[in-house]
């Protein structure tokens, strides 16, 4: 009797699974049937959080369900990503944040047990304008000038706002054979203070310099392609630093195994959000341009960026912490 029941249950389950698979194939799903959660790996009130909360309102309209924002700060989004990995594949929870939490952090920290393979990506919406910047009145305007300055002076001071910023500069310093003093800073604002008060020669920036026109100048783009805010500024790769790049789009991700139909629906909602006037207003205000990537392109970027960072770590002989 027990066996019969088990068999029956299995049959029901299979039929149900088949039905779900069929509906997935048509890229049509009733998801979301209840409010869903946007997981943000930073504290409330920051840049990513602000954007996420605006996005959550637009997504709620597009998806026809409430989108609740939950902040799980800690460890450069690691706390959020670790718990999120196993939060279920029914589309109840999705992650919104800078992709470096996935592409970079697990590669430099052996305690993190997640990789870029643990998630699927529904798209990207904006990107941090990662770049090398310097105080306005410095005698150099580009990387070549900076390197020349460093060689004449015997060394330069670099405000390094994250482990990733240090890795990028170590790779450049190795190629050029220059001495760099790394001054750690806490976040972009700590960096701005050192640059504005002329205490460092140059710095790594997530794009915050756009708020200080005439005070901070942009030397080079750290991304693999040129940046929206600085179309005339060459990338490090263009300048001859092959393979030295860090891409930081903000992606929307689900745990691996999430139904393709859910991904497709979120992809469409993100595309609508990328053209929404409210999103445009926020992006203009915080000067972080909308750079929409569909699911396929976002996944490809995650893969290529992860590989590029891995190569860079080998090049500078990095020891995993």
């Amino acid at each position: 009797m027990k066996h019969v029941f088990k068999g029956f249950a299995a049959a029901v389950a299979m039929t149900a699974a088949g039905a779900i698979a069929a509906s997935a194939a048509m890229a049509d799903t009733s998801w979301p049937t209840k409010p869903i959660t946007m997981l943000i790996g930073y504290k409330a009130g920051g840049g990513t959080d602000t954007k996420g909360r605006v996005l959550s309102k637009i997504l709620a309209r597009e998806l026809g369900q409430q989108v609740n924002v939950i902040n799980r700060p800690g460890g450069g989004q690691a706390v959020a990503l670790e718990s999120f990995k196993s939060s279920g594949t029914d589309g109840d929870t999705f992650f919104f944040g800078a992709v470096t939490g996935i592409t970079l952090n697990p590669q430099i920290n052996s305690a993190l047990k997640f990789t870029n393979q643990d998630y699927v990506y529904a798209g990207a919406l904006t990107e941090f304008q990662v770049s090398m910047v310097a105080p306005q009145d410095r005698p150099y305007d580009d990387m070549a000038g900076l390197v020349k300055f460093a060689k004449e002076k015997g060394g330069i001071k670099y405000a390094s706002l994250s482990p990733g910023a240090k890795i990028i500069m170590q790779a450049i310093a190795k190629q050029e054979g220059i001495n760099v003093d790394y001054i750690p800073t806490k976040g972009g604002r700590g960096m701005v203070q050192l640059v504005l008060s002329n205490q460092v020669d140059f710095a790594y920036s997530g794009g915050i310099q756009s708020r200080y026109p005439g005070k901070i100048k942009t030397l080079a783009a750290v991304s693999s392609k040129r940046l929206g805010n600085y179309p005339d500024t060459p990338t490090l790769d263009e300048l001859g630093y092959k393979g030295v790049a860090m891409d930081a789009p903000t992606v929307v991700a689900f745990p691996k195994g999430t139904d393709a139909a859910i991904i497709a629906k979120m992809e469409a909602a993100l595309k609508a959000a990328s053209m929404d006037p409210a999103m445009k207003k926020i992006s203009d205000a915080i000067k972080m341009p909308i750079v929409y990537l569909n699911a396929k392109d976002a996944s490809a970027l995650v893969t290529s960026s992860t590989a590029a960072i891995a190569d860079m770590l080998v090049a500078i002989d990095y020891k995993k912490q």
Binding site: K43, A44, G45, G46, G47, D49, T50, R53, V54, K57, R72, P73, G74, G75, G76, A78, V79, E82, N105, I108, N109, A111, L112, G155, K157, S160, S162, P163, K166, D181, Y182, I183, P184, T185, K186, R189, G190, V192, Q193, L194, L196, S197, Q199, V200, R211, Y212, P213, K215, K281, I282, D284, A285, I286, Q321
Partner: protein, 505 residues
């Protein structure tokens, strides 16, 4: 300046705007009065509410919340010994014993008056000198901060209680604990025991709640009989002079309030120091000036409440000076306000006074209005909150422990925060039993990370010793710190000699 303020007063006093300020101050005061919830939480959570407001109303609302919650956090500090945020810790230390002695109303009122005065003073400073002061604030870099923090730590070491060695042990333990988390430059984990939750270090609020409130509850539960005897006292003294702020209280408190307002304003203007440094410094200064020593925490001190609250509230407006003028926040509140400004399409920084002058002036007028509203809302709100102390300890203790858990849960990343709180509750229990100063522990814990960061930045920035001469401010504070250590040692020796003498007698 005055006529300019007058010209925008019309828009600032528009009915809608005033309503938002009032709502902000009330909401802030209520949230602040809950244990474990402070200005950071209150303001951050309110930001999405401002999406659809006019810029002036939005900023005025948020400023109202931050002012209200800063003053409100004194309520739970004094009544329940649970500071809503670390900067109210000294308020709890000096104010809770007063509540135990039946003088809760007096402490609450003085705390409120000191809050409003400190806040008002700092707001006026902001209005008058924001533009001029900002340039100087920028000159305070890591080297200067290192010296200022070193000086602050020496100064606060004077709070260490009877034994300086025990105070130092507690302070260094605080610094050790503050080293937990990812190392700032390379991101290598320190003392994290493989726990990802510890990557950003121990959460401050659960540690503070555990050390102060939970340990206190454990001690009190152990003394239930004595408490029952004291219960009558807790209900509030029937004497009228214990319930109101008398002329004599004002005489005692006016100096700490003036000093606290000044300290808080300076700390607010300097980026990177934070409200806790302000209130602890002001509290420490008053404790030394009074000459009462550890009696401050044993029998409570209205002057201590006044000193801590005036400085705590003065930090908030002053921290907007560097924000408005150069775009650098001087406090958590200011950092959160940046998010609110940018949502409204306004960039805090040098161009603010050129592009949005009317808005800034409107914010100034709103801030002054918020100070006045704070006085009224606080005054009437307190009557309601002060009833808490009339409840029997047997009922109130479980409720306090429950509220502690909520605060730790919200601020410490869920149940992990509660775990942290319990561990530090036990540590706090033993440190109180064996007279290890939990004050120096908390100070070490709060200042530790800023000190490490600015010290390491300085080591990179100053590569040659002669370069130090470019930092005269740093040299002054370094010298003051050395003098402070010397004076403390002399003082300690004297006390030891006196104690030895007393024993031989």
């Amino acid at each position: 300046m005055l006529d300019e303020l007058y010209s925008v007063a019309g828009s600032a006093f528009a009915v809608g705007n005033i309503a938002w300020i009032l709502f902000g101050v009330t909401l802030g005061y209520l949230v602040g009065a809950l244990p474990g919830l402070g200005k950071g939480t209150a303001t951050a959570v309110a930001i999405p509410l401002t999406f659809y407001l006019e810029p002036l109303s939005a900023i005025a609302f948020l400023v109202g919340i931050s002012k209200g919650s800063t003053a409100g956090s004194a309520v739970s500090a004094i009544l329940l010994n649970t500071p809503g945020e670390p900067s109210s810790t000294p308020t709890a230390m000096a104010g809770y014993p007063l509540a135990r002695a039946g003088k809760a109303q007096k402490a609450l009122k003085m705390g409120l008056f000191a809050s409003v005065l400190g806040d008002l003073f700092s707001t006026v400073v902001l209005i008058l000198v924001a533009q001029e002061l900002a340039e100087y604030a920028l000159g305070i870099g890591p080297v200067e901060l290192t010296a200022i923090l070193a000086f602050s730590m020496v100064f606060i070491a004077g709070l260490s209680g009877r034994s300086m060695i025990k105070g130092l042990i507690a302070g260094l333990f605080g610094i050790l604990i503050s080293c937990m988390g990812l190392e700032i430059e390379t991101g290598s984990p320190r003392l994290t025991f493989g726990l990802i939750e510890l990557y950003d270090g121990l959460p401050l609020i659960p540690v503070a709640i555990g050390m102060l409130a939970l340990s206190e509850m454990m001690i009190q539960i152990g003394q239930r009989q004595r408490l029952a005897d004291e219960a009558d006292l807790l209900k509030g003294s029937s004497k009228r002079e214990d319930q109101i702020v008398t002329l004599a209280d004002w005489k005692n408190c006016i100096r700490p309030i003036v000093r606290g307002s000044l300290i808080g304003t300076v700390v607010g203007i300097l980026p990177g120091l934070g409200a806790s440094v302000g209130s602890f410094l002001s509290y420490g200064a008053e404790r030394r000036a009074s000459g009462r020593g550890a009696d401050f925490e044993e029998s409570g001190a209205i002057e201590g409440v006044a000193a801590a609250e005036s400085a705590d509230n003065a930090v908030v407006p002053a921290s907007l000076v560097p924000l408005f003028a150069i775009g650098i926040p001087g406090s958590v509140i200011a950092a959160i306000l940046i998010g609110a400004f940018t949502i409204q399409g306004i960039t805090p920084g040098p161009l603010l006074f050129l592009e949005n002058k009317d808005l800034i002036l409107g914010v100034y007028v709103s801030m002054l209005a918020a100070s006045v509203m704070l006085l009224f809302i606080g005054y009437f709100g307190q009557n309601m909150f002060a009833r808490i102390v009339r409840i029997s300890p047997a009922l109130i203790m479980p409720i306090v422990v429950f509220l502690c858990c909520i605060g730790a849960y919200l601020q410490g990343g869920g149940t992990f925060g509660i775990g942290v709180m319990i561990v530090f509750g036990i540590i706090g229990f033993f440190s109180k039993k064996y007279d290890f100063s939990f004050v120096t522990f908390l100070i070490g814990f709060v200042i530790g990370p800023s000190f490490e960061l600015s010290l390491r930045q300085s080591l990179g920035l100053v590569t040659d010793l002669p370069e130090l001469l470019d930092h005269p401010v740093a040299i002054v504070f370094a010298v003051l710190a050395v003098v402070g250590v010397w004076r403390l040692t002399v003082l300690q020796r004297k006390q030891m000699a006196e104690m030895a003498k007393a024993e031989t007698n």
